[in-house]
Amino acid sequence: MKVEKFNDPLARRSHQLHFETLRLDTPFQPRLAELSQTNDWYSWAGYKAPHSLYDEELEYFAIRSTAAVFDISPMTKYRIAGSDAEAFLNRLMIRDVRKLGVGRVHYTAWCDDHGHVLDDGTLFHLGPSEYRLCCQERHLPWLLDSADGFSVEIREETTDIAGLALQGPTSYAVLRNAGFAGVEQLKPFQIAHFPLQGGTVTISRTGFTGDLGYELFVPRALALDLWDRLFTAGAAHGIRAIGYSALNRARIEAGFIVANADFITSETALRGNRLRTPDEIGLEWMVDMEKPNFNGRHAIQIARTKGKLRHVLVGLEIEGNVPPELSLVYHRKKKEAGIVTAAIWSPLAKRNIAIASLERPYGSRISDDLWVEIYALRELQYQKMMKRAKIVPRPFIALPRRTATPPALF
């Protein structure tokens, strides 16, 4: 277990001037700045990140029809290594880490002692006893405290490693054209390493769009090389950089949830009733009661056997064409049953889709006669609507190209 400290006053002092820059640039910021026509930025974990670059809608279609590049460098990344790395991660995660082979990635989540979800993320098994954990929130103290008694080293590498998501039907063609030979053999959730300018780029067949896609990680210094290589190679394949708004549409279609958007993580929640167990945010399939003990196991078991699960996360299809963002869900138009956490008009499914958190028995025992109350603000007047909502399975879309191996060359 290792904790980085800056006890050297000189090193500490050399970082004093950070207050002059409130929002940091990612390694790709020079390229993003060149491409940004909308100048539409937001702060993602302290980094400047684009909401959109030129046109939200067209950026979305880049994901679904060509190849879209999204800068994921601000994502929190931890390198976890050491002889007990697997055992440590296995006590942390609700999924069985022993089943994650070297060169594989899986989507996972982890809980506090009370079985409340701290965050979800992707775990990369990079090499023997070597992992990378990517997630939304920061967790260094939790990881270090959980590592007590394990021989494991935990290092945050968010700033050292630059990341890009390359998503869309032509993403494979872009990579092939960029010289990453053999990438076609990657199955979903598989990882491979490729040489780049004397360094290494790690490519995994993963993504947050439900489409064919890859995520690429390189040391910070190689970031712009990678970017340029992709954009040169991708010019003929319709490569476009995109902002978060476009990605968010794709992820809702794919039915993915976002921490602190679709559920509140347990270390940030101030209000006790906002906490969620995996079973309450649709992650019950991950919880592996057969594997060795993990954080929250005892509590989840009790919650399951004593019927203490209060909420459920569902996919909704809602009539009409007005996305009911953050609307209340009602049963029989009367009894409040929950809240919509994310909603869009899905261009791919051609319907109104939403993710909602319902209070049981709604969504579990009672699943019919659900309604969503929509306040549509039109020219300074609310148009109030009650629209029928139907619980449907997620993902809302299923694209065969997501999993086809080798992928088709578009």
């Binding site: 440590f88 394990f150 993990f294």
Partner: protein, 519 residues
């Protein structure tokens, strides 16, 4: 592989009490003890040829009547007159407290004696209310049963029995510091010093620290020699208590395995299955109760993945650094303390000149330094039981504080310096004592840790302060004796109600195990 119903880890007094209680229900119980002798901190040791003394605890003042009756211990061994407390003072002479915490006070004027009696009455009354919560599981929100409600109700009634103003005063005083209380009642520095000392002995607080009165309440919830606040020096040293508990255990059919340190507690997916001994042997049982420190149990003996992070973190932050040193002196003659009668030397001698003395002894301990002018309680056990010293000789046993576990600069060099400080202090009250020392032994917290396997040398297995009491002792998730690991229980002083030779954590835990398995 050997199989039992219950394994108890540690043959200290709490482990033995738990073992006997469970065995009396017909369970097959084994106690595994790392040392070659049972008794833990309640054993008698020979520290110099012919000189024996209680190894750690040296005064019986809170052995619970519930334990004596439930284990059917020979009551006559725990009866007798309460020993006096003598507050030493060079100038004005000693103050002597007799009976249960000074029913009679000698050496002060009538006004002061009356003031002390008033204060004593109030404190004993309040302690009596708190006492209701000792011999039972602490009430836990979300898990409050009928008997908890009944007990709370009874406590409420007895609170109101003295009238509304008394009840209000209880609520006001509960978390106060001891210094403000003694200032409110007393004017004699000797008495104020004594009460301050008693409130803070074994606790990392000074008399002016808020909540320090709780230490005194804890003391006064104890009874001995049939008196609340009573005390005596057991014949044969504290080992007598250990022997009685071992005897009871054997009579109940408990198997005692000595020199058998536990390597780890065997658990899988939240369920205990036994223990593995250092030698490699495995003992199987569906119930394991640990009478060793809670943090040692859950962060040392259980494999790290089996204890969830918040619980592990809570136990890591449980404050548990010992701050008391134990002194043993072999003297070639009986010492003379100025103004103290030979008979009173059989009691407890306290060096605590004033509130300020205790407070200033505490100050350096906050920064990892020992008290240059320590406060202490001294006993001469061989006066009550001549077999503890060679003829003509005398054994001296003292608890001196503050001696912080994490001493800046380390105890290797600190130990002789602290010994000098203690001896200097004693010498001023008993001139010539130094010259009569033939052997000495000073156990500072790291020594106590090594000898008794008591982490950081804390006899309460964790600071006995407001935030580590009741439902937060040792940590909320494990404050009801059970743990998130099915079948694993905690029964050391680190659990409610806390340390001292009471046997209550062991008794409460055993009763809880029995109740759990009945339902």
């Amino acid at each position: 592989m050997t199989s039992f119903d219950t394994i108890i880890i540690g043959a200290g007094h709490n482990g033995l009490v738990a073992a006997s209680t469970l065995a009396a229900q017909g369970r097959r119980v084994v106690v595994v003890e790392a040392a070659a002798k049972p008794g833990g901190a309640a054993a008698t040791v020979e520290f110099a040829p012919g000189y024996r003394t209680s190894g750690l605890a040296h005064i019986v003042n809170r052995l619970a009547p519930e334990v004596i009756s439930s284990l059917k211990l020979d009551k006559t061994r725990f009866e007798g007159a309460s020993a006096p407390t003598v507050v030493l003072d060079r100038n004005r002479g000693p103050v002597v407290l007799r009976g249960g915490y000074g029913e009679v006070v000698e050496g002060v004027g009538a006004d002061e004696a009356k003031a002390f009696a008033d204060m004593r009455r109030k404190l004993l009354r309040q302690a009596d209310i708190l006492k209701r919560f000792l011999a039972r599981r602490p009430p836990r929100p979300g898990d409050v049963g009928f008997s908890d409600m009944a007990n709370l109700g009874m406590a409420g009634l007895s609170l109101l029995r003295g009238g509304r103003d008394e009840a209000r005063d209880f609520a006001r005083m509960l978390l106060m510091n001891v210094s403000d209380i003694v200032d409110e009642y007393l004017s004699d520095d000797r008495l104020k010093g004594l009460v301050s000392f008693d409130a803070t002995l074994g606790i990392q607080l000074g008399p002016r620290s808020p909540t320090s009165l709780l230490g005194l309440f804890y003391r006064l919830t104890g009874e001995a020699a049939g008196l609340a606040g009573g005390q005596y020096l057991p014949k044969g040293g504290m080992g007598t208590v250990a022997d009685a508990l071992v005897g009871a255990a054997q009579k109940a059919g408990v198997t005692l395995r000595l020199s058998s340190p536990v390597k780890r507690i065997l658990t899988d997916r939240g369920k205990v299955s036994g223990v593995e001994l250092e030698g490699g042997e495995t003992l199987e049982a569906a119930v394991v109760a640990s009478a060793v420190h809670p943090a040692l149990t859950l962060r040392g003996l259980v494999s790290p993945g089996e204890v969830d992070t918040e619980l592990s973190r809570a136990l890591k932050h449980m404050r548990s650094n010992g701050n008391v040193a134990k002194l043993h002196l072999a003297l070639d003659r009986v010492p003379e303390f100025a103004g103290v009668s030979r008979e009173d030397l059989k009691g407890r001698l306290v060096i605590a000149r004033s509130v300020r003395h205790v407070e200033e002894a505490f100050n350096p301990a906050k920064y990892g330094e020992f008290s240059p002018d320590p406060v202490m309680e001294i006993t001469l056990p061989s006066l009550s039981d001549p077999s503890l010293a060679p003829s003509g000789g005398c054994t001296l046993s003292a608890l001196a504080q503050y001696a912080p576990y994490d001493l800046k600069g380390g105890w290797e060099s600190g130990r002789p310096q602290f010994l000098e400080a203690i001896l200097d202090a004693i010498e001023t009250y008993a001139p010539g004592l130094r010259a009569s020392i033939t052997a000495s032994e000073l156990l500072v917290p790291p020594d106590i840790e090594a000898r008794y396997r008591m982490p950081a040398g804390h006899w309460h297995h964790g600071e006995l302060q407001a935030d580590q009491m009741l439902l937060n002792r040792p940590a909320f998730a494990v404050s009801g004796y059970d743990t998130p690991i099915e079948g694993l229980y905690l029964c050391s002083a680190g659990s409610h109600p806390g340390g001292g030779i009471s046997g209550l954590p062991g008794l409460n835990c055993a009763r809880h195990i029995i109740a759990r398995n009945r339902s």
